[in-house]
């Protein structure tokens, strides 16, 4: 026997002495139990992952459709506006006045849940493409959220602007578009508004007067909202009652705001004037309700007699 063979023989013997023989009987039980627990855990994980995947894909599909198609989703919110006109109905008080806006807690919770779900999916996705899709969906949600969070989607549309009945600006007043009114008579403001955001929105109406005055009929106030069809520009008397309408990015509409001048209004006694500088319009974007104060190109002024 040469040296190498003898050395290898010693190694074999040494290794043979390290061999403890058959495995202890409890090892099989331990392994079986661990695999059983793993099976149950993996089933639960698989179910959870399927659920998270479904939520994530749904959210991604929603975000993608919003971004790509730019269309809002109708969730059956009723703005309280009048039904669409059938035979040229006239604009009356109460038309187009919609509910006030509460904080979007439900949407916020839903968005946070979806983002967390997408984050979990991105971290634990077995396939890289799924992780990328989840991260993209998160970024898209953040991008969309940043666009719809502020109430700044509506602005002056630059169309026709005026008030009816109109009064020439009295001497002594530097600015204002004046209303000819004696007492609490109706007046109409013609103003164009535009959707200046990158997403579509639903214009729901005008917010009700929330000043809570003890004698509201004493002062000017907004009572309703109408609109002018495209072919009817620009006679306020042709206004139709407003109903919910969708405005795509960059689209505008000619609105008619119905108001009353208040008992103190006077076109002859020029003691002072009340100004209406903006119109509170309510709109919806991706289920979020906003009230946007659309600033008028020039304040609407109602002269008062200073006595009433």
């Amino acid at each position: 026997m040469n040296e190498d063979a003898r050395f290898e023989g010693e190694i074999r013997a040494m290794l043979g002495r390290r061999d403890p023989g058959a495995a202890p009987t409890h090892l099989g039980d331990t392994v079986t139990e661990r695999m059983r627990r793993e099976r149950e855990r993996s089933r639960f994980t698989a179910r959870s992952r399927r659920l998270v995947n479904a939520v994530a894909w749904l959210a991604a599909a929603i975000v993608l459709s919003v971004v790509v198609l730019g269309r809002p989703f109708e969730l059956g919110l009723n703005p309280g506006a009048s039904p669409a006109p059938s035979s040229l109905p006239t604009l009356v008080a109460g038309d187009g006045v919609t509910a006030t806006v509460g904080p979007p807690l439900l949407q916020l919770l839903l968005a946070v849940g979806v983002v967390i779900g997408l984050g979990v999916l991105a971290a634990r996705a077995a396939r890289r493409i799924v992780g990328y899709a989840a991260v993209t969906a998160i970024l898209a949600m953040i991008w969309v959220g940043s666009m719809i969070w502020a109430s700044d989607a509506l602005g002056d549309g630059g169309g026709a602007f005026g008030v009816d009945p109109h009064l020439e600006r009295p001497a002594g007043f530097a600015r204002g578009n004046f209303v000819r009114a004696e007492g609490d008579v109706e007046f109409r403001i013609l103003v164009g508004v535009v959707n200046q955001s990158h997403l579509s929105l639903n214009l729901l109406g005008v917010a009700p007067d929330a000043r809570g005055l003890p004698d509201p009929e004493r002062l000017p106030r907004i009572l309703g909202l109408g609109y002018l069809p495209d072919q009817d520009c620009c006679l306020p008397s042709h206004a139709r009652p407003f109903s919910r309408m969708a405005l795509g990015p960059g689209e505008s509409v000619q609105l008619v705001v119905l108001g009353r001048a208040g008992r103190c209004a006077s076109s002859t006694v020029e003691a002072g004037a009340t100004l209406i500088e903006s119109i509170p319009l309510v709109y919806e974007q991706l289920t979020l309700l906003h009230t946007a104060d659309v600033v008028l190109p020039e304040p609407i002024a109602i002269v008062n007699d200073g006595v009433c």
């Binding site: 390290r18 058959a22 695999m35």
Partner: protein
């Protein structure tokens, strides 16, 4: 010498039965004995071997979809066991642990030189403990499991040439460790 190339009866022809979880569990349990012995020889500790095999079985369960050919289960599972043992050995080196191995019983094959034989066995066992994880595993697969170079290459996932080279260097380091036990392997 017991080796890994002995197949347990009835474990090699399960074919598509391994697609079911219960069958896979049975397959793992059927191979526990040889996996445990392999781990014990590599690690030199029965307790460590139990834990390593238990971990390896769990890893095998999690990655069972990677087993395309049930006939290759033994080689596939051995590879997982070997990898688990390698991780444990490397972890030991990071957290130095003093392992005490019992002196081998007298098994002198030739009358008259048993004292030298016992001395050599002790020194050999100590020198083996000083080897790197890869060297240990290669020697165990070659001289305890009696696997061919190609089979070792398959289990370790390396080319045959690398196995030959690793075997050569492992033997050289084992000899060096015997000559000078203070040499840090």
């Amino acid at each position: 010498m017991d080796g890994l190339n002995e197949a347990p009866a009835g474990a090699w022809r399960l074919g598509s039965v391994t697609e079911t979880e219960a069958s896979f569990e049975r397959l793992v349990v059927d191979h526990l004995d040889r996996a445990y012995r392999l781990a014990a020889v590599i690690l030199g500790s029965a307790d460590d071997a139990e834990e390593a095999v238990s971990d390896a079985a769990l890893l095998a369960w999690r990655s069972r979809k990677g087993l395309r050919d049930p006939d290759r289960f033994e080689a596939w599972f051995s590879r997982i066991v070997v990898n688990t043992c390698r991780d444990r050995l490397r972890s030991r080196r990071r957290r130095p642990v003093v392992e005490v191995f019992p002196t081998a019983p007298n098994e002198a094959s030739e009358p008259g030189d048993f004292r030298e034989l016992i001395h050599t066995r002790d020194e050999l066992a100590r020198a083996f403990e000083l080897l790197s994880a890869d060297d240990r595993i290669t020697l165990v697969l070659r001289f305890w499991a009696d696997l061919s170079i190609e089979s070792i290459a398959e289990r370790l996932g390396i080319p045959s040439g690398t196995v030959k080279s690793r075997l050569h260097h492992a033997l050289a380091r084992l000899r060096a460790g015997l000559r000078d036990p203070e040499v840090d392997q």
